[in-house]
């Protein structure tokens, strides 16, 4: 299979382009997606390619345009809503939680809402309290939503294509600081199924579960870990809901130790759920309690030193891995 190297930004753009070409009901809208070519240039060139009927600049009306997408999706279109960042999805929360996620169920299966809401999630560089939210656990809590948060170019492309084809509302969480990261993707068309984790690196000593940018943080820690003689297995769930617990359990049964890394807050984080499922499924296989690396319990501060102290880091990940292997 031949491959090519593209950035995550290009991977997303290719996915949107290919799906819009394939299916005339797919359209993109959001703030600055058209004439400005996207705040983060994901949609660069798409207005020229598809015209203003299908690549639509919206006013700053997240609640309105997200709800509009729900309605359009109920009657047969397949909207891709871009949130300039997922922080602004909070303005649209009622439409997502009360409408998008529940429409299929409360109509007794009569209507479905095939829409994708995508954009960058998590902290960027010192953008402070209102612009640094990690939304995965909030969305994952809601029955009826799929939540995807990939880490590589290939996963972004393959999963976004699947998300657009999926018949449910899908939350697709990207990360601004990953957009320029290059990676290999198949040259031919491909998709990656929703709900399937991937082992990014095989290992024997500890299962390290991480998604989105945290996968890169773990990779940074790898040389130091191998110097200590610790061989980790790096597992990226890629989809957080539905969670591929089988792949996780298989890995845990092999390594008997788990560290879960997430950028979000600790309390009710994604890691809480993953740890709970691990304890239920394979408690007897664990040689150590699950250890979690998360952000500290505070809104994101602006000051650089405090921001660094808030977020997970390769160093904090190494400490956690040392603790489950009893190396401290």
């Amino acid at each position: 299979m031949s491959t090519k190297t593209i950035t995550i930004r290009e991977a997303l753009r290719e996915a949107i382009f290919e799906e819009m070409e394939r299916d005339p009901t797919v359209f993109l809208f959001g703030e600055e997606v058209g004439e400005y070519n996207g705040a983060y240039k994901i949609s660069e060139g798409l207005l020229d390619q598809f015209g203003p009927r299908r690549v639509i600049d919206t006013p700053i009306s997240e609640s309105g345009f997200t709800g509009l997408a729900v309605g359009a999706a109920m009657v047969g279109l397949r909207p891709i809503v871009e949130f300039m960042s997922f922080n602004f999805s909070l303005v649209a929360m009622d439409q997502i939680v009360s409408n998008a996620s529940k429409m299929h169920y409360m109509s007794g299966g009569m209507f479905n809402v095939p829409m994708v809401m995508r954009g960058c999630n998590g902290s960027a560089a010192q953008v402070s309290s209102q612009h640094s939210h990690c939304m995965e656990s909030i969305f994952s809590y809601i029955p009826g939503l799929h939540v995807i948060s990939p880490s590589s170019a290939k996963d972004h492309k393959g999963l976004l294509k699947s998300a657009i084809r999926d018949d449910n509302p899908v939350i697709f969480l990207e990360n601004e600081l990953l957009y320029s990261l290059p990676g290999e993707v198949p040259s031919d068309e491909f998709t990656i199924p929703i709900g399937v984790a991937e082992i990014k690196k095989e290992g024997t000593d500890v299962t390290v579960i991480a998604h989105s940018r945290m996968v890169e943080f773990v990779k940074v820690a790898l040389p130091a870990l191998s110097e200590m003689g610790i061989d980790i297995e790096l597992l990226d769930p890629r989809t957080l809901k539905p969670l591929d617990i089988e792949t996780i359990v298989r890995s845990v049964k092999k390594t008997n130790r788990v560290v879960i890394v997430e950028e979000g807050w600790r309390f009710c984080g994604i890691g809480s759920e993953i740890a709970d499922q691990i304890y239920s499924a394979c408690f007897d296989y664990l040689d150590s309690p699950v250890v979690r690396v998360t952000s500290t319990e505070n809104p994101m501060p602006y000051a650089k030193n405090l921001e660094v102290a808030t977020l997970p880091s390769p160093e904090k990940i190494i400490e956690a891995i040392k603790s489950v292997t009893y190396r401290n």
């Binding site: 600055e32 006013p59 700053i60 953008v127 402070s128 084809r165 491909f190 082992i199 405090l306």
Partner: protein, 371 residues
Amino acid sequence: MAENSSKAPKTSKPKTVKPVQTKPKRNRQSKTTIPAKTTKTSQLSKQLQQTLDELGKEVSIEMMRMMLLIRRFEERTTEMYQQRKIGGFCHLYIGEEAIAVGTAWAKKPDDYLVTSYRDHGFALALGMSPNECMAEMFGKVTGCARGKGGSMHFFSKEKNFLGGHGIVGGQIPVGTGAGFRAKYLGTDQVSLVFFGEGAISQGSFHESVNLASIWNLPCLYIIENNRYGMGTDVSRVVSIEELHKRATAFSIEGLAMDGMDVFECYRVMKDQIEKCRKTSRPALIEAKTYRFRGHSVSDPGKYRSKIELQAYKDADPINRTRKTLTEVGWLNDEDFKKIDKEVKAIVIQSIKFSDESPEPSLEELTQHVYS
């Protein structure tokens, strides 16, 4: 890892796809509108003359000085951003100074004020120190928010400044709440709620103004219409371009003012604030202005033409004030240069102060999550 080859979508497509109606594709370059001409050189309008008489020489010069301080402060802010002493999002007010300054001199010290992330001008005009503002952007503990907020989130309890806010439209209900408090306790304060023209497309705007109208809250809603919300020309996203006419929908007064004329901003704001104080009726004021820089320090602003930008720069609120004050004989070139030198020194001092200030300690991290 299992990977599917692509397959046809599961849902059946509708037979005909009805086109979504969007406005016809426009010329990518925004339309150039020439801003209002500067005051006629030979003869001051009666209104301006009256305003100047009311303010007097000293206060008028103070107002110009404040505009200049804001300008110089933000020019240095850009430099500090380029030197990476300031990070994150950083939105400049350059070109819009007349609104904050006119307002600051028109309000009473205990009137409330709230605005968006484009908050440096308001903070300084309200009398916050350049030191605490610069230090905030340097992420130092001596900053107005102890380095926790940054450029977008300046606050001052002392000045009844309820902050700079990052979510477009998010501050509008908050400012309305301050007006509610004034009414609830029977104080005579007014709440001044500022936001960009982009924010009027948010539900929070419509909900707030309706609440203020039905409950007679002493709130003034001021749209800083700088014609762009990021790269979006206002004409592409609103159903009426005379934004203040939306007031009709809430049965309140709506009016426009030249947001690049500090004396007009002062006069209109003064009238409106006093009226609101007396009647407790909200109003919607559209300040027509322009930002000379990009949306934020990192936006090159390619979506607007050089001609348009130049036309607005020709109406620079600071030059305009300088000209007026020179005409009435209150200011000469030397005076201006002296003031400029003074404010530049203040800004340099704020940088020195910020450089020398300590970072917040790590104990600060989880402080102030709860009170």
